[in-house]
């Protein structure tokens, strides 16, 4: 898979790209600014652009805007937004229209190379990746209705992985159960929570996110 890495810190840019190379990816471009990232994407048409959310000049939301622009101009390029803090509100806004080929992860996740590589591959394949911290925050959130109490602990696990963007196969692999079992859990979850069922893993992310935020 061909990647470009955009981060204004040289140390992090190099570190991220070397780890990704170690994980078997091909890093075809490095960028220190949002503009450069856009240029690299246009030239290289990578599978995934990994973009730091804080970039010059104001170090606020330049990365976010670059991510949106890449998605509009190059719908075939997946975008993985990295940040030193992850925010629920930001995730919701970022994924709002279309979660396909989009990821939003805490930058620290990259040290867990296996998970991180899986997330990059998901995004590169048109799926989604939502940081576990956001998902666990959403699941821990106190709610007025008790719908979440109606599902089992196992279903909760499946729900969390669904929200992070895992496919049924990936969930099955992770939980060491059969895909058939995962499908049963998923149907049960949608039933009990009253979420409209969908098989597309990235649409599922949105549906679950919408339910958990409400």
């Amino acid at each position: 898979m061909r990647l470009i890495v955009a981060d204004d810190s040289l140390l992090l840019r190099e570190g991220i790209s070397r780890l990704l190379v170690e994980a078997g990816f091909q890093v075809v471009g490095l960028a220190a600014t949002a503009e450069e990232a856009l240029r690299q994407v246009a030239q290289q048409e990578p599978d995934v652009a990994i973009v730091d959310i804080k970039m010059p000049p104001t170090h606020t939301d330049e990365g976010l805007r670059a991510a949106r622009e890449i998605r509009t101009r190059h719908p075939g390029v997946g975008v993985l937004v990295l940040s030193q803090y992850v925010e629920l509100g930001l995730a919701a806004r970022l994924l709002a229209e279309n979660a396909a080929g989009l990821g939003y992860l805490l930058k620290d996740r990259i040290t867990d190379l296996g998970e991180f590589a899986a997330a990059v591959r998901r995004v590169g394949a048109g799926g989604s990746a939502l940081d576990p911290a956001i998902v666990s925050q959403l699941l821990a959130r106190r709610r007025e209705d008790s719908a979440l109490d109606r599902i089992t602990a196992r279903e909760r696990e499946v729900l969390a992985l669904m929200a992070e963007g895992y496919s049924n196969q990936a969930i099955a692999d992770r939980l060491v159960i059969t895909v058939r079992a995962v499908e049963k859990h998923v149907t049960s979850i949608f039933d009990r929570l009253g979420v409209p069922a969908t098989t597309d893993s990235h649409r599922r992310v949105l549906a679950v996110l919408a339910f958990l935020r409400s």
Binding site: L11, G89, T111, R141
Partner: protein, 584 residues
């Protein structure tokens, strides 16, 4: 003393001159010249002469209007002197003929120099000079060449002793120069000057000038009409002339009325004392002083001892007007201490007694009001410095967070990445790789803690992405279920966002800790220039700003950005915390 002796002499002179004038006019054997306003009725003769001399005497005794008084008296004596033309004696008659119109010249001089007796403008000096020339030199020239037959209405007059040559054509030409030309020009200009002066005058000045300028202006107008009408219709001229006589008597009366008005102004000081005496701090002190001095522009500038400056009653700074301008200031002291300056129309300085009396009457009230104004000014200072302190604290926290993010957090993260890389390279040495992995996870926990610390110092998401995004995490972390609605497009000023953010997070923390609530609502709405923030729960209520230091802190934060903060928390009825924060 000498002024008193002089006054006695003036009175004696006026009596003698008046007597002679009446005697001359009453015994006159000829109709004589009707110089404007000089019908030969003894009553008019005495009335006009004595009223000018009398009111002139009154004015003369006050040093500030002494010159004007002298001019008024001169008008009166010149008026009596004009009666010489009624004499049957050729010499007296001839002298009277020459000096008959002189009093009008002096009158014009007095009118244009009211109230100081000095002609302040070059234009006025030119007009008065020209008119003096007209009624003296040109009048004499006319007398030199006109025989009595040439004098209108003077068929039975005695001989003109000053006649050089009887030249009716020349006499008529001179008369035309004297009256319709120079006379009309000078009187017309004088009228224009009076009108200009009136229009330029401020309200208090108009009040002082009104009686004399109005009656004097009417006199000048009548003189003009008489000069223009008499040659065509002697009968009309006679009527207008009689009207002029009435008008002239009005001028000294008007002057005396003005004096009386001033005395009445002093009595309004009495009203002021009564008005101010009723309360220690009258609500409208400025209005009371303004009424007493008849100066709508009046301002009170309270003195601030700590920085020797002046402020108005709301504590806003005032700069005193420089000397010599359209407004002036009078210092007010009370109990030996400076209290305030009254800023008023400069014309009021002409009656310093009145200003002094008003300021003295208002001294105590002004001293009380000054304390209030000083308090307000200090409160303003305090409010501004509190806002500055809060903003400086906010900026400092933001800087700290950013330093952590750009510095320690990035570096530690890159070290973690480096360690991870080492682990990959140590794939063939599981024991060593395991060691490194343990250090790395320690490092990652430190990073997590550091992230929490940085977020606690300042939520970067607030600066980077605004209030709506930042509040979503606050609400998600709340231990009580929260319904959040934010209706405020775009970014707001930093201080406003920070205040609203801390208000919501602190209020939700309180709810979780104390309210025993089942749910809470957070509403953030922008209404024009206000951001309305409301946090409501269905808990046990009973929250009190006075007791909870958290609430106290919130109230302070909102106050620091000039906002309004209210807590409604009846026992058992839930708690509602509301803030209105101005978005400027």
């Amino acid at each position: 003393m000498s002024r008193r002796v002089d006054a006695v002499l003036v009175v004696a002179g006026a009596l003698v001159a008046g007597g002679l004038a009446v005697a001359l006019t009453a015994t006159s054997d000829h109709e004589g010249l009707r110089v404007v306003g000089h019908p030969q009725s003894p009553v008019f003769v005495l009335l006009i002469g004595w009223s000018f001399i009398g009111s002139g005497l009154v004015a003369w005794r006050d040093p500030r209007s002494g010159r004007f008084g002298a001019l008024m008296m001169a008008v009166g004596f010149a008026w009596f002197a004009a009666s010489l033309e009624a004499s049957g004696d050729p010499l007296l008659f001839s002298i009277g003929r020459v000096i008959a119109p002189l009093w009008i010249g002096i009158f014009l001089h007095a009118l244009l120099s009211f109230p100081t007796g000095r002609l302040e403008s070059a234009a006025a000096r030119w007009v008065v000079g020209a008119y003096y020339l007209d009624v003296t030199v040109i009048q004499l020239a006319w007398v030199l060449f006109a025989d009595v037959e040439g004098f209108p209405g003077c068929e039975e007059c005695p001989a003109n002793l000053f006649l050089v040559a009887d030249n009716p054509a020349l006499a008529r030409a001179i008369l035309i120069v004297e009256q319709p030309v120079v006379g009309v020009l000078a009187l017309g200009s004088a009228l224009v000057l009076l009108v200009l002066r009136w229009r330029a005058a401020t309200a208090p000045l108009r009040r002082a000038l009104a009686p004399v300028l109005t009656s004097g202006g009417i006199c000048v107008l009548i003189l003009l009409v008489t000069i223009l009408v008499e040659p065509f219709s002697p009968a009309t001229g006679r009527v207008v002339g009689w009207l002029g006589g009435v008008a002239f008597t009005a001028v000294p009366l008007a002057f005396l009325t003005g004096l009386l008005l001033r005395r009445l102004d002093r009595s309004s000081v009495g009203d002021l004392v009564v008005e101010l005496g009723e309360t220690a701090a009258p609500p409208d002190l400025r209005g009371a002083l303004s009424r007493a001095l008849h100066d709508p522009s009046l301002q009170i500038a309270y003195w601030l001892a700590h920085n020797d400056s002046y402020v108005d009653s709301d504590g806003r700074p005032i700069v005193l007007p420089p000397a010599g301008g359209a407004s002036a200031s009078t210092m007010v002291e009370h109990g030996g201490r400076r209290v305030a300056a009254v800023v008023h129309d400069a014309s009021l300085l002409q009656d310093p007694g009145l200003i002094r009396a008003v300021c003295a009457a208002a001294g105590l009230a002004l001293a009380n009001a000054r304390l209030q104004a000083e308090l307000r000014a200090r409160l303003d200072d305090l409010r501004e410095s509190r806002t500055r302190i809060v903003e400086a604290g906010q900026a400092e926290r933001r800087r700290l967070e950013r330093d952590l993010h750009d510095g320690a957090q990035q570096r530690l993260l890159s070290v973690a990445l480096g360690l991870r890389l080492v682990e990959v390279r140590l794939a063939g040495h599981p024991a060593e790789a395991d060691h490194v992995a343990r250090w790395r996870s320690e490092l990652e926990r430190s990073l997590e803690e550091l992230r929490e610390v940085a977020h606690g110092i300042h939520p970067a998401v607030l600066t980077d992405h605004g209030l709506a995004v930042a509040l979503e995490t606050v609400v998600a972390r709340s231990a009580v279920p929260v319904r959040l609605s934010v209706d405020a497009d775009g970014r707001l000023p930093e201080a406003v966002e920070a205040t609203a953010y801390y208000l919501v997070s602190e209020a939700l923390t309180n709810t979780a800790k104390h309210a025993r609530a089942a749910k809470a609502t957070v509403q953030v709405v922008r209404r024009g220039e206000l951001l309305l923030v409301e946090v409501t729960d269905d808990g046990i209520g009973g929250a009190d700003i006075a007791r909870g230091s958290g609430l106290r802190g919130l109230a302070d934060r909102v106050a620091a950005v000039e906002g309004r903060f209210t807590v409604t928390s009846p026992a058992g009825g839930g708690t509602s915390i509301k803030a209105e924060i101005p978005c400027v």
